[in-house]
């Protein structure tokens, strides 16, 4: 077995890694790890005032600082029943757009583009693309400038507070931002063209679910009191847990999310998929020109979506300023309420961000923060798996590492909020033994022998199940594919399933491998016959904990006789499973 390790994913903000394990031509394991130490932010805000919370939580992430600030303020204002005026809302939108411009410009030009044009970093890229690098820098600087003007600083500005702003930007400052935004438009349109037309490879294409905030009035936007999914489902932000369903994995300090048992993606691509039809102006024209089916299933198009959102942002900024200039400054809304509960959501550049608080006697008594990268982690792992498996199948093993790197980076993961590296490794020879031992220490699995009788080695799973039964092993089921009806196995949701089957993974006959059942759900090619068996019959938790124990067949021809190596492998498995 072999491991591909990306120890540090360079050019992302933060600290994380991916390890892919390969056995023959199957990927047996993919783990997306957040190495960043846990900071327990939700715990350290407890007992603090709402104002202190709003000071502290933006420090979760420097690049999403204002998204955190804004989400926290929205949650607190909901909890404490604070209603702000129209000018405050507009200037919050402006600061948020500033962060979107800064983050997207940084990501598309500096972190993503070097991969597609073959440079290790943006500074080196400057030799061949001097104009792009320079204007990109100016664009990012412009985003920073908006953030500074509205929030007080480039990073961790404290000017936005519960109830309003400490100080409003002057008319001159706003007019300058407006005119500068308009001047940028020709270059912004070139940016959309550049990133929409990049040669994004097909691997890792695969359908997914998308989620984002549902902005009011059927407009494109980056905040909302509702969440919209690509399925059309709408969820109230106060019920955000219906979307996020957080859980912990042992290989990462970053919690995970799934919606109805499925991974989902958030971010620019999610927003364009859910809300793209609502775009207006030049952004709409570009959307109509470039959006196609590949955008709905290829995470690499996130870079194109980000560029499209740059167009949206640069068109929206002058509108926001024009409206704001008509309105008088508003003083900070005082509040007297000491108790309350509320959730707030905003679209951070890399996806939906939730903050939820409970305030008791004027102090934070409960805090829950769910970051975009935490929600994307499952899909990042799934897409890395698909990338590795498909490249392996098409004989492009040498591309795995770089391609996984590309996939991870396309998600624009912000790993300080919760990611650095890709590893590809060969699984150790006796990996299956270690894993079986681990599964058995937790809870004894239900064993399902699978195969078709009369096709030589393809009967291995069936024969093995029969032998286990004859040795007195309980809860063993036999699933003979040559029979019309599937076996009526009983289900205990708490117990994992262990399928025993002949699996062609391109190794020497008789070699044994262990593959997470999840991979079969992601990859029909791997085990087409398993899918109908499992998809409607088992829960997500069970799917996560279940495995396929595969034996490399020598032959699948018609015949009753199984090959010598497969028989030997069966003996070994029998030995391990019987007690």
């Amino acid at each position: 077995m072999k491991k591909i390790v990306i120890e540090h994913i360079a050019r992302v903000e933060g600290n994380g890694g991916v390890t892919a394990t390969i056995d023959g031509n199957v990927v047996t394991d993919v783990k997306f790890t957040v190495n960043e130490g846990p900071r327990l932010v939700e715990r350290l805000t407890l007992g603090k005032t709402p104002e202190e919370d709003v000071n502290l939580v933006p420090r979760i992430c420097a690049i999403c600082t204002l998204s955190h600030k804004y989400a926290a303020i929205r949650a607190m204002e909901k909890a404490l029943n604070v209603k702000v005026g129209p000018k405050v809302k507009l200037l919050r939108e402006l600061m948020h757009l500033g962060e979107m411009v800064e983050s997207h410009a940084l990501h598309v030009f500096y972190l993503a583009l070097p991969d597609y044009v073959g440079f290790p970093n943006a500074i080196a890229m400057a030799s061949k693309f001097p104009l792009e690098v320079k204007i990109a820098l100016e664009m990012k600087q412009f985003g920073n400038h908006i953030m500074k003007t509205t929030s007080g600083r480039y990073i961790h500005g404290e000017n936005p507070v519960i109830g309003g702003f400490g100080k409003f930007p002057s008319r001159d400052e706003l007019v300058w931002i407006k005119s500068r935004a308009i001047q940028f438009m020709p270059f912004v349109m070139k940016t959309v063209k550049l990133f929409a037309e990049l040669p994004y490879p097909d691997i890792p294409e695969s359908e997914t679910l998308y989620a984002c905030c549902n902005p009011p009035d059927k407009k494109y936007g980056i905040v909302g009191d509702e969440i919209i999914l690509s399925t059309g489902d709408i969820i109230d932000v106060q019920d955000y847990k219906r979307l996020t369903n957080e859980f912990i994995v042992s290989h990462s300090f970053c919690k995970r999310s799934q919606y109805k048992g499925k991974p989902y993606s958030v971010g620019a691509l999610a927003r364009v998929n859910c809300l793209g039809e609502r775009l207006e102006g030049e952004a709409r024209k570009m959307y109509k020109k470039y959006f196609n089916a590949r955008w709905t299933k290829n995470p690499l198009f996130n870079n194109a979506a980000q560029a499209l959102e740059l167009a949206y942002s640069f068109e929206r900024i002058p509108e926001v300023i024009e409206e704001a200039l008509m309105l008088p400054d508003e003083s900070i809304i005082p509040y007297g309420q000491k108790n309350g509960k509320g959730a707030g959501a905003v679209e951070a550049p890399r996806g939906t961000l939730f903050h939820a608080y409970e305030v008791t006697k004027g102090l934070v008594s409960h805090a829950d923060i769910i970051t975009p990268t935490a929600q994307n982690a499952e899909d990042i792992e799934r897409y890395c798996y698909i990338t590795a498996q498909k490249l392996l199948e098409s004989g492009q093993e040498e591309k795995i590492k770089d391609r996984m790197d590309l996939v991870i980076r396309s998600f624009d993961p912000c790993i300080s909020c919760s990611v650095h590296t890709v590893q590809v490794r060969r699984a150790p020879e006796e990996d299956w033994k270690t894993k079986i031992a681990k599964i058995k220490t937790d809870v004894s699995p239900v064993i399902v022998g699978i195969g078709s009788a009369g096709h030589s080695d393809d009967g291995a799973g069936l024969e093995l199940a029969r032998r286990l039964r004859s040795q007195g092993v309980k809860d063993v089921w036999i699933e003979d594919e040559t029979l019309e009806k599937t076996a009526d196995w009983e289900m205990d949701e708490r117990r994992p399933l262990l399928f025993v089957d002949a699996v062609d993974f391109g190794e020497r006959p008789g070699k044994i491998t262990i593959i997470p059942l999840q991979h079969a759900a992601w990859n029909a090619v791997l085990s087409h016959r398993l899918l109908p068996l499992v998809t409607h019959r088992i829960s997500f938790d069970q799917l996560k904990n279940s495995y396929i124990l595969g034996i490399q067949p020598a032959s699948l021809e018609d015949g009753e006789q199984m090959s010598e190596p497969v028989l030997l492998a069966m003996e070994q498995i029998l030995e391990r499973l019987k007690n």
Binding site: L44, T49, I123, G152, Y154, G166
Partner: protein, 261 residues
């Protein structure tokens, strides 16, 4: 021709990556920074990082929060002539070092992650870099200031040590001719907080939150008593003093144990 440029590495441990981002945000100067010195490692900005080379200066951001980070830090220190802690996470432990002791941290870790066991790296209570290795210089800030970083960088190139402000935010606040908020009975952390931000919060009509960490010259005991006299709640005073000061502040609080509320 031999290259005499300084070899600099920029490293991120646990934190918000704001100090590294601040360096990245020196847009106009960034190209010159890369020209003037050999930036051997800077994960946020480049992928061809050299993790074995001997360095003249290592800039380290973030607190030590996992065993893996601790090993990395020790290894970075070994191959660096000088190490500069950048930002309050590296210098003091940061906001994540706001649990009064290791037991309190362990209790809170359990509250978040339950009994889950992690296989990739063991988590540690966040501690400043200086708890484990020698720190030659410390740039305060959350995040560090652009001016202070650039001046430090320029001094390093010339072979000089950084020159930092020793006074509190109040000094910068007076330069900006702001009215004192404490005189208006608004809880401001200015007198206790290291200068360098340019009194940005007060310039925005808002009280200082203390994000640059404690000022060396501040008389904390006297300020604590003054704030009590002004009628602020002792729990609030302690929280505000602790928010950006790291674990060490709890040793300071020990002297007030007998105070009644």
């Amino acid at each position: 021709m031999p290259d005499n440029k300084l070899k600099i590495g920029i490293y991120e441990l646990t934190g918000c990556a704001g100090d590294a981002l601040l360096i990245f945000d020196c847009e106009e100067e960034l190209v010159n920074i890369f020209k003037a010195a050999n930036i051997e490692a800077f994960l946020m900005a480049k992928s061809d990082n050299n993790d074995e080379i001997e360095l003249d200066v290592a800039l380290v951001e973030g607190s030590v929060s996992t065993e893996k980070e601790l090993r990395e830090l020790i290894e970075i220190r070994k191959r660096s002539k000088a190490l500069i802690a950048i930002g309050i996470c590296a210098g003091l432990g940061g906001m994540q070092a706001n649990f009064s002791n290791d037991e309190a941290w362990a209790k809170n870790f359990k509250a978040v992650y339950g009994e889950a066991e992690f296989i990739h790296s063991k988590a540690l209570p966040s501690k400043p870099v200086g708890d484990f290795v020698k720190v030659d210089y410390y740039l305060p800030g959350c995040p560090i200031g652009k001016e202070q970083f650039l001046s430090t960088f320029a001094r390093l190139l010339a072979g000089n040590p950084p020159e930092l402000f020793r006074f509190p935010v109040c000094m910068e606040c007076k330069w900006h001719e702001n009215d004192c908020l404490l005189n208006k009975n608004i809880f401001c952390m200015g007198p206790l907080t290291a200068a360098g931000c340019g009194a940005v919060c007060v310039n925005h009509n808002l009280p200082c939150v203390g994000c640059w960490g404690p000022s060396e010259e501040a008389n904390r005991t006297a300020e604590y008593r003054l704030l009590l006299e002004k009628g602020f709640d002792p729990a609030l005073i302690k929280n505000k003093m602790a928010n950006f000061s790291g674990t060490r502040i709890f040793e300071f609080f020990a002297q007030f144990k007998g105070d009644k509320k």
